[in-house]
Every structure is written in structure tokens, then in C-alpha cells.
Symmetry: C2
């Protein structure tokens, strides 16, 4: 069997290696239009920032290894320019010598990735404006900074790559501004979770301009970014990181069906509309594990595993069926880590799925053991307890908790399962009740009806004349400010001061993180009050109102 | 309803708080025979080592808080000395004033914990011999060291507490020897995983004496520990950490049924033989989640959650049923972390459960990003793919991976699920194929029959005349030694040198960690050889033969 593979990085190289391990006699040709295969896309920003110093480090596997160990015919600088389905061949252009040839296939696997979006704005082709996708892109940016002694950069787009680039350019000593059309960075996070990152980015000297579009670029004395608000932003360097468009050009030209946003449509075995053509990675549309809807997900883990599955499936012996993606993602932002999995609140609203949410702010490990830090966590779940998604931001331990919840989602877990999880505990690592247990407890308490939550976004709309807004923190804490119109009774005095609260009005209780508010609400509920507790307390309130 | 609770720490205090949150009108009395409640048992060794400096830090919740916030009648230095089931009362001795009284109950919750074992050896009561369970124990040890300027310590027993104490005494500047009857430390780990800790302990200056019992103690010029091998070990200080015996004295005297090893027997609602008496924590026997067998598990997470459940169950409204424990545990040993979950190989053998195992040694995060370190991981699973247990040792990231696997076990996951887990990936946190995915891949490859494993413990028994032992590493690697009788063909040359291998003998292939051996075994299998791959490679081999 002769298998051609288009694209020599995450999906393509994984497919090639897996296929070889399963079949010694397949003839495998790997086409890569660029100079490099099997490189660490995800490491590229860190090369620019200087965290990764050695160029060689960016290459995960050398072409020689794919040849000698896996007997793969690796052809770099060979671009597949068309698929000729009738003949079962592809047309290839060899960029090294300009030659053009056809290569036949029994099976074809496409992993062409995506192209960084580069809208046709005025001045877009001026020198100093870059996108980052490949190793040569990286070197180009690196050399440009060196050559021009660039001192300032505008990063357009505050997604993962934009934020990583901002951090790395800053660490390299540049003055960095992020311009983002949306009102927040990193859109897999809900706004109040992103707000924590915003503060941290600003504290680290990054200028943030949200709700701001880019209209074009102009070369004046310096390169200028023209903004939608009519202002101009001078910059020595511009990084465009406004997303990646799936590269479906080959299948489109071959007349095969496309998926959403011009992606390559595949079935759950990664087969395209042609039974001899498979596709994986950033270029394909995938099924969202929870909703079953089509979605795009440009991440390396899925690309690798899809490649592994496709490399097996082309053999036609054992078929690995895909169950879809949940979309676990993570981002380092200076000293913070933001991780998320599953659906966020914006998506749940969009899809009109009924959901509940809970916030907790536990320590990453026992507070009595040195260097514990506070996590901010959010869990989204269905009325029947099924977990929809979670987000966590903190200096340590958010990756672990989100991985645990990602595992629970994948295995169909509920918030009741999170209550029972038996996670590793010793003081340097966690607490006897792990933060994930705490999410489970607080969520299950809502579902069991033991506590009625209200949320930070509701406080403005509360008619102060119709409700009692009750701050149960200590006077020391309230000294720094209470919510407008709140009264203060510390939780520890509540039982003896019940008479101060009118019984005919609902009580909206709150504290610092939600725990004492919960205790207060349990006390009051049992004394006949109609009580709501502010989920996440003032901590989340501040994040929402940031 | 009047509820008495015996024991004011993990299980007892949790039960009391939960009960109060659910019921304002329950009368709750918490008896604690010691001076302190709600303390951080797990932090005690770190106070002695100086990592935790502030005494107050050891107290998680103050008695005042339990009184004011939770309206709990906290009675420290009040020991419950008997349960009078006929009268539904307990007899209490107030150690503060020596008085004795009865207190009636509707429901009784016991969380008396366990007692550190202190065998009646000659000289056991000599000064300088300590066990560690409570806050006063901690202060006693601390003061003894200060007062006597102790320079050396013998720790008897190399379980979690023993190893933590060894580390902390070392960090305090003492010369430390661990004496352990078993041939290894930390028996929840299998020996080859524990071997990594042994090396690390020795590298950090701890002397280890395994297979050595203690026969007694003698006060000569210095305190001497008399060993089973007739040697004597002088020491300024002895810590006995040879395990904890469940404290079931109260229920035993009350004629209630006991569980294994004299624990308190409870059902899955934590009810003892008496419907009005519940028990939780270190004192009870629990069901092993996987085997369904009775077992003991003295850990804080389960104790807390059991207390939480019992606090609810005594109310008789909603019943929280326990599904048993899997036993996730973790230990910091200087710069290493050892974590485990589920059943280990020793237990699987004992229980005669058919199992397979796989070892991998991946990096905790992408190697191209700085400061990655190598993990050593082991997964145990059933022939149908069901996960039995896992162990991980490394400088970083083992807690995360074991928590993920603990979650998978709890939700009935298989190794095929581990292959598909979508965990957070960015270079500082993991690899595109997370170490847990790698465990899944290698395990599933075995179950699918793509690779036949052999194990480090099998190499000695291999008749070199009947098999080919094939080292597929590079000559640079083999220069530092090969297995006896092995031939070397680097995997990258294998296809062209097949003729060097006799076809009529099975090939036992190995490499550094198992990956290239696996690739080699795939090549050879497809060329008609009968091949086995050394799981975990030379890395695991060395751990097994350490
Ligand atoms: C800067 C950056 C940081 C990232 N960080 C992370 C991260 O932290 N975590 C994460 O999970 N993901 C990250 N990603 C995303 C991840 O790299 C991608 O999801 C993954 O590489 C996609 O794999 P793929 O095989 O689909 O495409 P790619 O890895 O992009 O490979 C596609 C290859 O196909 C080649 N190609 C395309 N068309 C042709 C053709 N016609 N003929 C021949 N060759 C062709 C391309 O040149 C390219 O080399 C990052 C990406 C970038 C760019
Ligand atoms: C040094 C040390 C380190 C540890 N490290 C860890 C760790 O890292 N991770 C982990 O998960 N677990 C750890 N543990 C175990 C954990 O502390 C226990 O599993 C947990 O505390 C058990 O809770 P419990 O309520 O059953 O018993 P305990 O917490 O021991 O509480 C029992 C209490 O009951 C009191 N009591 C007993 N009988 C009576 C009576 N008749 N009347 C009145 N009071 C009575 C006792 O004085 C005691 O205070 C450690 C334990 C120790 C000692
Ligand atoms: C590395 C790359 C060439 C794929 O190679 P690969 O051999 O499939 O993958 P790995 O080297 O990770 O090894 C995984 C294989 O080794 C096996 N393996 C890993 N550790 C093992 C061990 N200790 N013992 C036995 N087998 C082991 C796994 O089972 C798996 O084999 P399988 O797929 O047949 O089950 C490809 O993924 C790539 O180019 N990656 C870099 C690009 C990229 O991913 N970029 C985006 C992220 S920065
Ligand atoms: C602390 C202790 C007194 C128990 O108190 P507790 O109030 O039950 O437990 P916590 O303070 O951890 O709070 C957990 C409760 O707050 C709730 N909660 C936590 N964060 C919350 C938030 N942000 N919003 C709302 N509720 C929250 C939880 O749901 C849970 O309530 P529930 O059990 O009714 O569901 C007891 O566990 C103890 O003494 N621990 C120390 C001893 C010990 O465990 N030793 C061994 C380990 S070192």
C-alpha cells in the first residue's frame, strides 16, 4: 500500500510514524512544503523571548530519524498543489528545483494545518508586520528585532499566541501593546476569568486595548497601526495573531465537502468525502464531545492523536473512531497559568443549554505549608449534574485541576463524582479537600437545593429596597468597602443578631469568596429567610466588575 | 436531635461542621481528649523540620470558630471513655479537672483516629523515643531536640510518616538512619518504584537499613537501638513510625462488631452495628473500590469526606452512600514526589487478579522548554483494559498524572480512555502526548497484541542460548554496559541488518526506556520474528535491580 502524507508536523508526522509501526510494507511519502518537519510550533514564541535558546531544540524529530528509523520518504520543500482523485495522484511542486511531478497513492492523509489570518488591510505588506506559524517565521521575527533594534511591538489579537508573543516580546525587553477587537483576551475563558489575566498582564507592563480593531498600517517616521477608534499606534514591530484559518485548499479544489468555516469535513474515522483520503489536525472540523456539534480546534494534542488514529485507519484493518474533542487548553502568562476545558459560559448561553455555575477560590495546596497561592476556579454544569466545563487561573496547580476535570468530562462524570474524587493529598500538593472536591461540593450543594446562588453580574440589578444585601465579613474586611446598600453582620455574630434582618425580604448574602456567605445562608434559610449566596464572593465580584 | 462527636480533628470536625450547616437545631457536642482540635496532622513533620515555623499554623480552625460560627459545644481535654448503648449515653472524663460525667445522645459519631503502634520492646519507654500523631507529640520532639542538642536520629519504619520525618530531621541538621523491617520504603509503591526513592534518600544523606527489625532499646552512654541483625545503632533520638492501629476501643467495649485488624466495622453509610452510632476516619474499615474487599486507609482526604457524609447521614434525611476508597497517596521526598493510586502489583499478585503492566519514562513537560525532568511511571491494568492502579515518581508533575488516573479509576475508565484523554498542553506543562496518554498508548498496544512485553525481572531467567537478547540503543549508549549476552543493533540500522538475527529464536529487545525497543519489536514482528520488548527499558531494569 502506498500512502502519501501532506504536512510534516504534528498530524502528518504522527500519522507517518504510527502507520510505519503498524505496517512495515506500506510505502510512505511525507510531503512538507516548508524546509522543516516535526517542529515545535508551540515552542516558537519562547525562542523569540529567549527562553528556548537553541534553534535545534525547536526540531522535535529530525528528517534523518524519520528516514532511518521509520523508513519514511521525507520530502521537504515539496508542496502538494493538487489532488487528482480520478487518477489517485497528487501533483507536487519541488520548491528546491522548481520541478513539478505527480505521485500516485492508494491512501492519502492530509494534515496541512492552517494559515494565520492576514486580512487585506491597507499597508498589511509593510515591513515589520509578521505572523507566527513556522520556524522560518520565527527566525524572521528574531532577526528583524536584532537588525532593527526594535523597541516596541503591537500585538494584534489576544488569543493564546498573541498573549504568548506579548509575554515573550516583553521578556526580550520590548514595550508591548495588545490590540484586541473583543472586550477580553483568550476567548476560551469567560470574561471574569480573563479579567485576572488582564490585571496580571498590566502588572507586567503590557498595555491592553480591548474593543479596538485595526484598520490598517502606515509607514510614517515609524510603522503606525491605525486603530478603529481613529487613533494611531506607532510600533517597531507588529505581530498579527488574529487566528488561524483551516487550510482546505486541496480538498476544496478536489471537490470534496467542506466543514464549518471552510475546514475539511471528515467523519469519525477522519475520512473525508473520498474514502481514500483522510485528514487530521487544524485543517479539519471536529465534533464537540459534549454538544455533538461541529467545531474547530487548533491544538497540538488532538492533532497528534488524530494523526495517530488516521495512520491506523488507512490500513483498513482496525478502525479508531473519534469521539470528538472537549478542548482542554492552557496558557502561561508570566507568573500565572490559565487553563480551561469543555464549554464555557458564553458557549452555553449561545447554545441555550441550561446550566449552573459555581466559583471557588481555594489554595493550590495547604495554606499552612509555605508558598501556597490562591486559585480562581469556575465550574459549569447541567441541572442533572453533568459537567460542561471548567476554568482555573492561578500561580500554581490550575493545570492539575483542569486535567482532572477534563478526565471527568471525558468519562461522563458529574459534579457528584467530583465530590467523591480521591486525589493525592500531602501538604505541598493539595488540601484534604482538593479544590476539585470543593467545586464538586459547592455545585452539588446548589443542585441539592441547600444553597441558592446569586452571581456578581446580578448585584447591580438588585432593587435595594426589596432585598437585604448582607455582608457577612468582619468589620476589618468591610472597612475597605462594601457593596452599595449592604448591611454588615459578621457570620460569627449572625445567630444572635437575626432580629436585625427583616423577614419579609429575601437576603442576598456575600463574603470574600463565598464560603462564609454559604454558612450564613444555611443559618438564615433554616430560620425561615429566603436566602441567596454570592458565588465566588467579592473576589469573583471584583473580577466581574473589573 | 442531640449528636455527640468523639474526636475533634479530620473526621470529627468535618462531621460537626457539615451537620451544623445542614441542621441549625441539632445540639452538637464535640469531645476531644487532647488539648487541640482541628489541627494539621499532615503538617506536623514540617514543623519539626522548620518548614512550618509558626505553631498557630498547625491549627486549621480554632475552637472559637467552631463555637461562634457553628454553634458547636467543643469540649477539649474531655475523653469519652465508654459508650452506654442501653442508656444512649457516653461516659466522659474531663482531664482538666478530673471529673467524670455522662452525656446522652440521639446519635453518636466516632472519629477517634488511630494510635501509633508502640510495641512492647525492651527499653521502649526510655527517654528520646517518640511517636508522632498529635500537636503535643510534635512539640515534645521539637523541644527534646532543642534541649538535648540531638545530632542523630534513628527512624524506625519507612512508611509515609517515617520518610517525612527522616527528611525533616535531616533538614534540621540531624544525621538520620531509617531502619525498616521490609525490604523497601513506602509500601504502597512497588519495589522498583520505591528504589528511585531509596537512591534519592541516600543521595540526600539518609542512611537506609532495610530488612532490619528493631529488638529493643538500651540506654548506654547514648541511647542505643538494638537491631535484629544483632548490631546496635546509637542515636540521640528515635522516631517510631511503624504504623497506626485503628482506635476501636470504644466500640469494642460497647460490644459492636469490629472490622479487619480491630478496626470499627461500618456499612456504606458509616453506620456501625448500632443504628445510632456512626464512625469515620482512620478507625474504620472501608471497602476497596476496585476489589470490594475490606481494607484500612489512614488518610486525611477520606477521613474528611467520610466525616462530611456521616454528618449528613445522622440526620436520616438524605443518605450519602460510600462507594469505597481507591487509596490515592503522595509523598514529598526532598526534591522528588512519589504518588500512587489504586492497587499496586504486590496487591494484585496477592489477590491473584490477572493483570498487565507498563512502564514509561516521559518528561514532565516538553523537553524543548527549559527545566523538564524525567518521570518514572507504572500503570497496572486488567486484560480487559480496566485500570487497576498507577505509580509515578519524579521531580515534577507526578501529582497531576496520578490525580488524572485516580479520576479515571473512580469513573470506571480503561487504558483506552487514557489514550483519548484531552489534557492541557502548552510547553511548560506537558507534551502534546501527555505522559498519561503515553501510559494509555503503551498499555493499549499490549492489549491489542501489537507488542509483547517482557519485564526487567525476567531478564535473569532468560536462557541466553534459546533467545536473542537484542540491545537496540546506539553504540554510545551501550558503551556504558549492556545486559549479559546481548547483541547490539541500533534500531535505526535494524532493517538492513535483519540477517544478523537468527529467525528460529525469540528476540528480546530492549533500549533505554522502551520506546525504541517497541519500534524495533514492531519491525521484527512484521519480519516474522517472535519478539518481546522490555517495558520501561534499561531505566526500569536498573530500578528493578537496584
Ligand atoms: C506559535 C504557536 C504556538 C502554539 N502553541 C500551542 C500550544 O501551546 N498548545 C497546543 O496544543 N497547540 C499549540 N499550537 C497549535 C499546534 O501547533 C497546532 O494545533 C498543530 O501543530 C496542528 O498540527 P497540524 O498537523 O494540523 O498542522 P501543522 O503542525 O501546522 O503542520 C502542517 C504542515 O503542513 C504543511 N503543508 C501545508 N500544506 C501543504 C501542502 N500542500 N504540501 C506540503 N506541505 C503542506 C505546512 O507547511 C505545515 O508544516 C501553537 C501553534 C503556533 C503556531
Ligand atoms: C504525622 C502525620 C502526617 C500525615 N500526613 C498525611 C498526609 O500527608 N496526607 C494524608 O492524607 N494523611 C496524612 N496523615 C493522616 C491523617 O492525618 C489522618 O488520616 C486523619 O487525620 C484521620 O482523621 P481522623 O478523624 O480519623 O483521626 P484524627 O485526625 O487522628 O483525629 C482523632 C482525634 O480523636 C481524638 N480521640 C480519640 N479517642 C477519643 C476519645 N475517646 N475521646 C475524645 N477524643 C478522642 C484524638 O485525640 C484525635 O485528636 C498524617 C498523619 C500524621 C500523624
Ligand atoms: C514526534 C512525531 C514525529 C511523532 O512520532 P511518534 O513516534 O508517533 O511519537 P512519539 O515519539 O511521541 O512516541 C509515541 C509512540 O511511542 C510509544 N512509546 C512511548 N513511550 C514508550 C515506552 N516507554 N515504551 C514503549 N513504547 C513507548 C507510544 O506508544 C507511541 O507509539 P504508538 O503510537 O504506536 O502507540 C510527531 O508527533 C511530531 O512531529 N511532533 C512534533 C510536532 C508537533 O507535535 N508540534 C506541535 C506541538 S509543539
Ligand atoms: C476544617 C474542618 C474544621 C472542617 O470544616 P468545614 O467547614 O467542613 O470545611 P472547609 O472549611 O474545608 O469548607 C468546606 C465547606 O465549605 C463549602 N465551601 C468551600 N468553598 C466555598 C465557596 N467558595 N463558596 C461556597 N461554599 C464553599 C464547601 O461546600 C463545604 O461545605 P459542605 O461540606 O457543606 O458542602 C475540619 O476538616 C478540620 O478540622 N480539618 C483540619 C484537620 C485535618 O483535616 N487534618 C488532616 C489533614 S492535615
Amino acid at each position: 500500500m502506498k500512502v502519501l502524507i501532506v504536512g510534516g508536523v504534528a498530524g502528518g508526522a504522527s500519522a507517518a510514524c504510527r502507520l510505519r509501526r503498524l505496517s512495515e510494507d506500506a510505502q510512505i511519502v511525507l510531503f512538507e512544503k516548508g524546509k522543516y518537519i516535526s517542529y515545535a510550533n508551540c515552542g516558537l514564541p519562547y525562542y523569540i523571548g529567549g527562553t528556548i535558546k537553541d534553534k535545534d531544540r525547536l526540531l522535535v524529530t529530525k528528517p534523518e530519524t524519520l528516514r532511518s528509523r521509520f523508513n519514511i520518504d521525507v520530502r521537504v520543500e515539496n508542496e502538494v498543489v493538487s489532488i487528482n482523485r480520478d487518477k489517485k495522484t497528487v501533483t507536487v511542486v519541488n520548491h528546491a528545483d522548481g520541478s513539478r511531478y505527480e505521485e500516485s497513492y492508494d491512501k492519502l492523509i492530509l494534515s496541512p494545518g492552517g494559515n494565520p489570518k492576514r486580512p487585506k488591510l491597507p499597508g498589511i505588506d509593510l515591513p515589520g508586520i509578521f505572523t507566527l506559524r513556522t520556524v522560518p517565521d520565527t527566525f524572521r521575527i528574531d532577526e528583524y528585532i536584532k537588525e532593527h533594534g526594535s523597541k516596541s511591538a503591537v500585538v494584534v489579537g489576544a488569543g493564546f499566541i498573541g498573549v504568548e508573543m506579548a509575554e515573550n516580546l516583553k521578556e526580550r525587553g520590548l514595550d508591548v501593546t495588545i490590540v484586541e477587537f473583543l472586550p477580553q483576551a483568550v476567548s476560551n475563558l469567560d470574561p471574569e476569568m480573563a479579567a485576572i489575566l488582564h490585571r496580571h498582564l498590566r502588572e507586567n507592563g503590557i498595555r491592553l486595548m480591548f474593543g479596538t480593531g485595526v484598520k490598517g498600517f502606515e509607514q510614517k517616521e515609524r510603522l503606525c497601526v491605525r486603530l478603529s477608534d481613529e487613533n494611531e499606534l506607532p510600533a517597531d514591530l507588529v505581530i498579527l495573531s488574529i487566528g488561524v484559518a483551516p487550510d482546505s485548499s486541496l480538498v476544496k479544489d478536489a471537490g470534496l465537502p467542506l466543514g464549518i468555516r471552510d475546514s475539511i469535513r471528515v467523519d469519525d474515522t477522519f475520512q473525508t468525502g473520498d474514502p481514500d483520503i483522510y485528514a487530521v489536525g487544524d485543517a479539519i472540523d471536529v465534533k464537540q464531545f459534549i454538544t455533538g456539534e461541529e467545531t474547530l480546534l487548533a491544538l497540538a494534542g488532538p492533532a497528534n492523536r488524530q494523526g495517530r488514529a488516521a495512520g491506523e485507519n488507512v490500513l483498513g484493518k482496525r478502525i479508531q473512531k473519534d469521539e470528538g474533542v472537549i478542548g482542554s487548553a492552557i496558557l502561561k502568562v508570566f507568573g500565572l497559568t490559565a487553563a480551561s476545558t469543555g464549554l464555557n459560559e458564553k458557549q452555553l448561553k449561545e447554545k441555550k443549554l441550561p446550566y449552573l455555575k459555581t466559583y471557588v477560590h481555594p489554595s493550590d495546596h495547604a495554606t499552612y505549608y509555605p508558598n501556597s497561592t490562591q486559585l480562581s476556579m469556575k465550574l459549569l454544569f447541567a441541572p442533572d449534574g453533568k459537567i460542561y466545563g471548567a476554568q482555573a487561573v492561578g500561580a500554581a496547580g490550575s493545570d492539575k485541576r483542569i486535567d482532572v476535570i477534563a478526565t471527568a468530562i471525558r468519562l461522563g462524570g458529574t459534579v457528584y463524582d467530583l465530590e467523591k474524587l480521591e486525589l493525592c493529598y500531602a501538604p505541598p500538593y493539595s488540601s484534604a479537600k482538593d479544590p476539585v472536591n470543593m467545586l464538586g461540593f459547592t455545585a452539588a450543594n446548589m443542585l441539592r437545593g441547600d444553597v441558592k446562588p446569586f452571581y456578581a453580574e446580578d448585584t447591580d440589578g438588585l432593587d435595594r429596597s426589596k432585598v437585604t444585601l448582607l455582608d457577612v465579613r468582619t468589620p476589618e474586611e468591610t472597612a475597605t468597602g462594601m457593596l452599595d446598600g449592604a448591611v454588615n453582620i459578621p457570620v460569627d455574630e449572625l445567630r444572635s443578631r437575626l432580629s436585625e434582618l427583616p423577614k419579609d425580604k429575601p437576603v442576598y448574602a456575600y463574603c470574600a469568596v463565598g464560603l462564609r456567605g454559604y454558612v450564613a445562608s444555611r443559618i438564615l434559610t433554616q430560620h425561615g429567610f429566603d436566602v441567596y449566596n454570592l458565588s465566588g464572593g467579592m473576589k469573583t465580584w471584583r473580577d466581574v466588575h473589573d
